[in-house]
């Protein structure tokens, strides 16, 4: 404990640099990045196998290859795996590996946190796949619509494993994203202003921010589902007053930004690959970067386009339709800029570039069908059919997976020091191109034939057997292509051509070091005077800074503990806001049945206990000032008072809970009780967590291990503690004082 605190941000180095243990215990961002990628590849194979089984089952009408039960489990697992165990780890892996290199840093901002983020993932994956052994994998679809996913309709433990594993993986994702944000904001090498970072870094920064605000809605939805399933509340049970649509809202508030969590990294990768193989800088850097920011902002207000068919009301449908159409524009800006980058360039058709070009064209197809879905009446006809399956596979495979392949061929030499074979690479490209389009192009037509998605089999309707047959048969090409890739990687690792530092004559900082890079990343760094430092170094006569001026680096870097604390607090704020929305939704109008806030809560008493909590913010502030001024005694005593005030507040909460339980107001009683206990319970948990952190600080302080230099991390804890108080002010005014109640 003591050594860890004394040197809070020094990476540990394993004794030996090889062997399994050195990988497991590594906190080096490059190794963790590679672990992420390996995990993603493994689950790509698993999820791919699930897809193959699905396509075998659907290859002929009335097929009995799989039971309906197993088929439903497989498509649920396929979706969940591809989203959480393939997409997310691939991108986190690449950004983990590349971002510190691209900004000239030695490591990420919080190496240990980075390792934790990664190891959450295999743990979550284990939980998810363990469900197969319990005999009931989740089978409610990857978006688990309630009430199908609630107890009466999904009795087995499958959905429970699904919930827990998603929460575990979500925590890892948020921690990883916070790390990326802090790294980019705080660790850029001198000269690299935020306007000069490679587009990959900027777009991945946007993606990380999106993750921080987009996972919490999922977590709050999962929390509600847990309470429904395990504690017999009725959030999603209409018979007992719940809402069948609340889940959909919450899920898609997560789910649609999640699409951009996937699309943005693909944009990021392609924005590096296309310029390099066109031998030109990216056309309109500011527009590609700025449009990513706009996408990040807009992605939060389009979720209900997944719900045009639920009958939200025409006005809501039209507004969401308009917002969805709007988000197509910044994406269009990017497509134009990539095309303009290639225009007049010297195109080198490497495997990586081929994949990037195929990405561009297939993504345009997926995007255009997306615009069709944004037109409400077309959505009413085509949603939930194979047309939508084709649409999102064009975005996610034709777009995202092809971009991942482009990135793999592009950065593999940097990671391993060896080139992938170009001839095999082209084999893989063509196999995938044929296989992918063969599988999914025909599904557009199946949709128009009226085939709903997620059916385990279908009758022998005219044309269905043929098109499904073509779709299934084409999968063989993708499987073959994947085998070629695996073979290519193995061959390359064994005796591939040695790549050298910069095989592509690329532009950004990661190519300024050896391949693979040393433990500390760089021996020396070129001077950063533009967006393409390595280009400037290699082509001094054409150096960018002579022709295109970019804002100079002011040299200011925010404190990483502060950045981390703020990002975490924002994430938590989204979580609480959604819980409070739930409270308002179910309690805005008095239900009449059972207990309500007005009848069972003792407002004055809780008001008094609230004062204890609120004053603890003040005492914390004094204690923080004392630490900064080096007054140890004052620091300790004020911190102690803070802890006591927090404990007093918790006791007050306990008193209230005891009283309620004694009066038979339990969480399953009615929706008021469910929402009340859920909101205050989570707040109580946060207070407890804060108290633990404060107690650790207090102990360290007593052992004389806290000095002035620790005032910044201590301040970061303060951000959290004040946040918990602010949340309580909201909770108190909404629940106890009944604001927003008519």
């Amino acid at each position: 404990m003591s050594t860890e605190v004394a040197t809070p941000f020094e990476p540990i180095t394993a004794d030996s640099s090889t062997g399994l243990l050195s990988w497991v215990s590594s906190v080096d961002h490059k190794r963790i990045g590679i672990l992420y990628l390996l995990l993603a590849v493994f689950f790509l194979l698993v999820g791919g196998m699930e897809a193959v089984l699905i396509r075998i089952q659907l290859s002929t009408p009335n097929n009995t290859f799989l039971s309906p039960e197993l088929f439903n489990q497989l498509f649920t697992m396929h979706g969940t795996t591809m989203v959480f165990l393939v997409g997310m780890p691939f991108f986190t892996g690449f950004s983990n590996y590349l971002i510190p290199l691209m900004i000239g840093a030695k490591d990420v901002a919080f190496p240990r946190l980075n390792a934790m983020s990664f190891w959450m993932l295999p743990f979550g994956a284990f939980l998810l796949y363990f469900s197969f052994l319990t005999g009931a994998a989740p089978n409610a679809g990857w978006f688990s619509y309630a009430p199908l996913s609630t107890k009466p309709y999904s009795l087995g433990p499958g959905v429970d494993y699904w919930i827990v594993s998603l929460i575990v993986m979500g925590v890892g994702s948020i921690a990883g994203a916070i790390n990326i944000i802090a790294t980019v904001l705080c660790l850029r090498t001198p000269g690299m202003s935020l306007q000069r970072v490679p587009l990959f870094v900027w777009i991945m920064l946007m993606q990380a921010m999106l993750i921080v605000i987009t996972i919490p809605p999922l977590n709050s939805a999962l929390a509600l589902l847990c309470v429904d399933r395990w504690l017999e509340a009725a959030f999603f049970e209409p018979v007992r007053g719940g809402s069948a649509l609340l889940w959909q809202h919450f899920f898609w508030i997560f789910g649609h930004p999640e699409v951009y969590v996937f699309a943005l990294p693909a944009f990021a990768m392609v924005s590096e690959v296309i310029p390099v193989f066109s031998r030109k800088p990216i056309y309109g850097y500011a527009f590609v970067a700025g449009s990513s920011t706009v996408i990040l902002l807009l992605s939060y207000s389009v979720w209900a386009h997944h719900m045009f068919a639920v009958g939200l009301g025409t006005s809501a449908n039209i507004f969401f339709s308009a917002m969805t159409m709007l988000i197509a524009l910044p994406t269009g800006v990017k497509i134009f800029n990539w095309t303009a980058t290639m225009w007049g360039g010297s195109i080198q058709l490497t495997t990586s570039m081929l994949f990037a070009i195929a990405f561009l064209i297939q993504f345009v197809i997926g995007g255009l069908t997306g615009v069709m879905f944004a037109a409400v009446p077309i959505d009413w006809q085509m949603t939930d059919t194979y047309f939508v399956v084709a649409h999102f596979h064009y975005v996610l495979i034709g777009g995202v997976v092809f971009a991942i392949f482009a990135a793999t061929y592009y950065w593999f030499p940097k990671m391993t020091g060896r080139m992938l074979d170009e001839r095999l690479g082209k084999w893989q490209f063509w196999l995938w191109l044929v296989g992918f389009n063969g599988t999914f192009m025909v599904q557009h037509f199946l949709g128009a034939m009226g085939m709903p998605r997620r059916v385990y089999t279908y009758g022998d309707n005219p044309g269905w057997a043929l098109l499904n047959g073509i779709s299934s048969a084409s999968v063989i090409f993708m499987v073959a292509g994947t085998l070629v890739l695996v073979w290519n990687i193995v061959q390359s690792l064994l005796h591939g051509e040695v790549s050298g530092n910069n095989p592509w004559d690329a532009f950004t900082l990661e190519w300024a070091t050896t391949s693979p890079p040393p433990e500390t990343n760089f021996e020396s760094l070129p001077e950063i005077k533009s967006r393409r430092p390595v280009w400037d170094q290699q082509h001094p006569e054409h150096a960018d800074w002579k022709f295109a001026k970019t804002p100079e680096d002011g040299g200011h870097r925010p404190d990483r503990a502060q950045v981390c604390a703020w990002a975490f607090v924002i994430s938590e704020a989204v979580f609480f806001v959604l819980l409070l929305v739930t409270y308002i939704v179910f309690n805005a109008q008095a239900s009449g049945e059972g207990p309500s806030a007005a009848t069972v809560l003792d407002v004055p008493r809780t008001g008094v206990f609230s004062l204890f909590l609120l004053s603890s913010s003040l005492t914390f502030w004094i204690s923080e000032r004392s630490l900064r001024a080096g007054r140890r005694r004052a620091f300790l005593s004020w911190l102690g008072i803070t802890i006591l005030l927090g404990i007093t507040f918790l006791c007050g909460q306990g008193w209230e809970y005891a009283g309620l339980l004694a009066n038979d107001v339990t969480i399953d009683r009615n929706l008021f009780a469910s929402t009340f206990f859920t909101v205050t319970g989570f707040h109580g948990l946060h207070v407890t967590a804060g108290l633990v952190a404060l107690a650790i600080m207090f102990t360290l302080g007593r052992q004389n291990q806290l000095t002035k230099v620790h005032s910044k991390p201590f301040g970061a804890i303060g951000v959290y503690w004040h946040f918990v108080d602010v949340v309580w002010i909201l909770v108190f005014s909404i629940i106890y004082l009944g604001a927003f109640q008519s």
Partner: protein, 313 residues
């Protein structure tokens, strides 16, 4: 073969027209973009010299966005206009209480559809008879989870949500049979939750309605008599209704005119003596996971019950 492209109602026709228009716009956009990319690659493919290092032009970025912005506004406007017409319900008075006016009430069950006609009180399962040329107001509700009501040739899709009532219009230009399906994943047997809409000319429809109103008589002879006894002995009546008898439960489909149906089990099998016997012997073999248990009937018992059910016509 392509029901979406073969609309048979004014509403479906309007949606199809919009679809075609947007498809064409998309095709043009695709050809332009793909063409530009192809030309860029073709021209740059063998360029060996170092190309001009072009960092972009703000003016050009703004110019080339004018087109997409206009297209997007256009599509938004035409689709919004259509969305308003498709969903338009006349005579909406506060407090939006139009529930009483629905001509048909459709209830989604795991995994079959229950249809009730308002005027005649007729209850059907997985079959909807409507007269041509009349706009039928359909109320959609669910008995369990979320389903989705979809007849591609006749109407928009609409989700069927527990705790909510959704409304759509159902109308057919021509007499005919139109396939309908559940489009929202609703559990194990989502695949077999199909239904059919039979549009009849108004005269045929009146005749059908009159025929439906007559309660079928009790069987007088043959296996059917024994079958009727078995029907009640084997607790079939706990779930099903047969009008004119003591069986009045509404958990499973109404069997009053089961013999007149074309398909059974949500479209999983055709209605024939052979299939019905297979179904009676083990429903779980045909539609695994469905709510009807295997009663382990002997061959004779199955034959008798089937005879009884076939007498219900």
């Amino acid at each position: 073969m392509f029901p979406v492209f073969q609309p048979e109602s004014p509403e479906a026709q309007a949606i199809y027209d919009l679809f075609l228009l947007v498809l064409m716009i998309s095709a043009v956009i695709f050809i332009v973009v793909a063409g530009l990319i192809a030309v860029a690659i073709w021209r740059g493919r063998s360029r060996a010299t170092l190309p001009k290092q072009d960092f972009g032009s703000e003016k050009r970025e703004i110019y080339w966005m004018v087109g997409p912005i206009l297209v997007v506004f256009w599509i938004t406007a035409i689709s919004a206009k259509l969305a308003l017409t498709v969903n338009a319900f006349p005579k909406m008075q506060p407090p939006d209480d139009t529930a009483a006016e629905a001509d048909l009430t459709v209830t989604g069950h795991q995994w079959w559809w229950e249809i009730e006609h308002r005027d005649s009180g007729i209850v059907e399962a997985n079959e909807i008879y409507i007269p041509t040329g009349k706009k039928m107001r359909v109320k959609l509700q669910s008995a369990d989870v979320i389903h989705c009501f979809w007849v591609p040739q006749l109407a928009r899709k609409m989700d069927v949500i527990p705790g909510r009532e959704n409304y759509i219009w159902l109308e057919a230009n021509q007499p005919g049979t139109y396939q309908g399906r559940c489009a929202e994943y609703c559990g194990n047997q989502h695949a077999w939750m199909n239904f059919k809409v039979y549009a009849l000319s108004p005269a045929d429809f009146d005749q059908w309605e009159a025929g439906e109103k007559v309660t079928p008589g009790t069987p007088a002879e043959g296996d059917a008599v024994a079958g009727e006894k078995l029907f009640f002995a084997h607790t079939c009546a706990n779930c099903h209704t047969v009008e004119g008898t003591l069986a009045q439960a509404t958990i499973g489909p109404n069997l009053t005119r089961v013999a007149s149906r074309q398909e059974l089990a949500g479209g999983a099998i055709e209605n024939s003596t052979e299939n019905l016997t297979r179904w009676m012997k083990n429903p779980q073999a045909i539609k695994p996971g469905c709510r009807m248990p295997n009663f382990k009937l002997t061959d004779d018992e199955a034959k008798q019950i089937v005879a009884y059910l076939e007498s219900l016509d």
